[in-house]
Amino acid sequence: MSRLHPFTLLAIAGALPALAWILAAPVGGGWTATVALALTLTPGASPRVTSTGSSPGWRTGLVVLRTAVLTVAPFWLFLLLLHDVPTTIAIGLRITTMVASFVWLVAYLLAATLSAVPLLKARAQRIVEAQRCRGLSPRGGIGARLRALRALALPLVLSALHEVDERALALETRGLVPGIRRTPLAPPPDPAVERAVRWVLLLACLFALVRRFVVPGFS
């Protein structure tokens, strides 16, 4: 799985949830959920594997599968509490597909997504503790809590905005200037088969969408 081109991973993770919602329930959702859960077992689906580069084996896949199942379990419980069994199965299978697809997509996206989130969360925690040291209580009435929220949010947001210039300078230093095409040192291989697979997935989604709305009785 980790040997696939990132765009192929993205296409699979996008197409499976799309098909889960487009295809008729519960069969369509059942198939997509099965495929998505099977993909969580695929060696190489875990972020830890891509970082170490070692042979993953099936144990890592089982960990990803367990994460997917545990993540999706509360949704099934909520659905069962609020709906009848056919609706629960129809929506539950689709949500299972989404969860399972995104759980292993993390392997690709975590590398590219926001590094700022954990930094800001840690900073928010430090601000909360600093404000408590200065005697600001987050308890009491709504007015007191809103004042505490303002005392937390303002320094956090203002300090984050001051970082924008630093980040912009860092990006310019690395050559990210509009109009200039970047040349990666080691671009990931993108074989013709994977390009074809991406097109097939896109066409499958379009075909399923057209069939859903055009063919009578297909719902």
Binding site: L105, K121, V157, A160, E172
Partner: protein, 189 residues
Amino acid sequence: MSIRLLALIPVAAAISLALSAAVDAVALPLFLDTTGTILATALAGPAVGIATGVMTSAVNTLRNPTFWPFVVVQIIVALYAWLAARAGLFRSLRTAVPAGLGLGVIASVTSTPISYFVFGCTTTGGIALATALGRALGLPPLGACFFGSFLSDFGDKAVTFALVTSVLHGLPRRTAARFPWALRAIGAA
């Protein structure tokens, strides 16, 4: 799009995510997950705001996949914030809070059909409980769904608008001048 505005997008998305996690410290029933979207729009216009909203939803989706269909709400929030910034509604809390309340109504009207038709009104815990309360009060399914969304969005968006207004007024003038819409949003240009 300039590099500075490009750098603003992940920072603003991170602000939304960090604030929605940090709000637990004051134990208020708020999400604040659109703070970065509204702030980015007020600073840099609708394109940056929409990109921030989409980025926020994408990262939230990694934690909870049911967030993704609600990306539409983030886009509506960005467009509304742009109109508010153009009208100078961030110039004081007296104009910002009513604007935020208006956004709360629009956001709940937008999120209700998504929640109802996509998830059968079963999304995250708090909203699902509010929806169950609406049903217990005898509302029809769609009405209970709107009731849950309205309860969660109405106050949240007003507080978010007030926070963004405080931030915009707290920004040093030199920093604000680096963003194309900041001064106009607070009525200083």
